[in-house]
Amino acid sequence: MTQRRSYQIGTGFFILLGFAALAYLATQTTSVANFRQGDSYTLKARFTNIGQLKLRAPVKLAGVRIGSVESIELDPTKLDALIKLSVDKRYNDVPDDSAAAIFTSGLLGDQYVGVQPGGSPDMFKDGGEFVLTQSSMQLEDLIGKFLVNGSPQKPADKASAPDEAAAKVAAPTPPAPDIKH
């Protein structure tokens, strides 16, 4: 009888472990994890082009996830994209002159909103809006620039800091003179 009990307990443990693993996979490593939200506040940002940015894409500051994209709308009058970001209450000391930019995590990764902290002593409040934004860097635009200027190091227009960062991320390989198409 004790033998029977011990394997029943073992089996129970095994089934529990299996379901725990499933629950872990399903909730911690998938998009379900992004639903989990503590207290948060909303920030707004306008972009001329959001590229492939999707709902629930991460919002990162210095590479650390601080929130997610809550909504994406087209402003009917200004004809630009109005993004609402939901940022975790824990990170409520983001300077209000910070810049928001849309980055791609590597060549293969998804797009996300990166926040470049500014130096203002005032912090963002709920509903605050980013003044400085940098739109998604389109690969086609980059290639066009290469073809016009021949060098990616000196872009034609004045690129802001996030722009350069985006260019670096988007084109990490050394500039090749013979770019196809």
């Binding site: 029977r4 394997y7 029943q8 073992g10 089996t11 443990f13 095994f14 089934i15 472990l17 299996g18 379901f19 693993a21 499933l22 872990y24 996979l25 399903a26 911690q28 490593t29 998938t30 998009s31 379900v32 994890a33 992004n34 999707k54 629930r56 894409a57 991460p58 990162k60 590479g63 650390v64 996830r65 995590s105 590597g106 060549l107 293969l108 990764g109 998804d110 996300y112 991320v169 990490p172 390989t173």
Partner: protein, 247 residues
């Protein structure tokens, strides 16, 4: 030869129906099913966890190297988790499961056949299909997906260990890229369906081989070998078919 192979496949298919028909009766021997989950599932945990960890670590290393060529190491978590959930988890677990649990089922039933234990059950008016075959079949179907999940979880941990702790990838990037690209239904749950199907196929082959083995030591030896060979082939072929349908 071809006729023999066809006859085997046909007999195996009929055997599946016999097992399925015996399942309602086998619920009377529910305790036996629990015992079999213990044997095929809990006893396979160590090998599955070890292999899962190492597969995850190897994936972490290899993919880090490949992705760094494209400057895409940030996608390591995504690539590792997707390849584990969709393919490697279910398939590797199934192959290990066939080697660990499938063979032991075949050998056990083969020896029960050889020592007249199956006939003895028939003579005691206990249907061996309901008491021996069906519980093992059910146990494999329950145990396989759970083992695959454990394998996946350990794989992710292994990749995290290599990518983040050793190669210095950013922890937040690793997880956030993963969570933004992996879908519960399309990736995790489809992988679970795959492993359920693999569990059923392995159980069917293992029980069938044991049940029909000639009652000699040589017969049992051949039957166990056939279990591993046939289940591996069928698992990989079925994997292709299911991938095509689940995509």
């Amino acid at each position: 030869m071809i006729g023999d192979a066809l006859a085997q496949v046909g007999a195996c298919g009929l055997f599946l129906f016999q097992i399925l028909a015996a399942i309602p009766k086998s619920l009377r021997h529910f305790r036996e099913t629990i015992r079999q989950i213990w044997f095929v599932g809990a006893m396979s945990l160590v090998i599955i966890m070890t292999c899962g960890l190492f597969v995850g670590m190897v994936l972490g290393l290899q993919l880090y190297y490949v992705l760094s060529i494209f400057g895409g190491t940030a996608a390591l978590g995504t690539v590792v988790s997707l390849s584990l959930y969709r393919e490697l988890g279910p398939v590797m677990t199934a192959l290990l499961f066939a080697g660990r649990a499938g063979t032991s089922i075949t050998a056990e039933i083969g020896l029960m056949r050889a020592t007249d234990q199956l006939s003895a059950m028939e003579m005691m008016a206990v249907d061996p299909l309901a008491y021996v075959a069906a519980p093992r079949f059910l146990a494999c179907i329950v145990a396989m997906p759970l083992l695959a999940c454990v394998f996946n979880a350990l794989g992710i941990m292994g990749a995290h260990l290599v990518g983040v702790s050793w190669l210095g990838l950013d922890n937040g990037t690793f997880w956030s890229n993963m969570t933004s690209s992996v879908d519960v239904w399309k990736d995790v749950v489809n992988g679970v369906w795959k492993s359920v199907a693999f569990g059923a196929v392995i159980a069917l082959i293992a029980v069938f081989q044991g049940y029909t083995t000639p009652p000699t030591s040589e017969g049992v030896a051949y039957a166990t070998t056939r279990t591993v060979v046939f289940s591996s082939i069928v698992v990989l072929a079925l994997d292709f078919v299911m991938t095509a349908f689940l995509m």
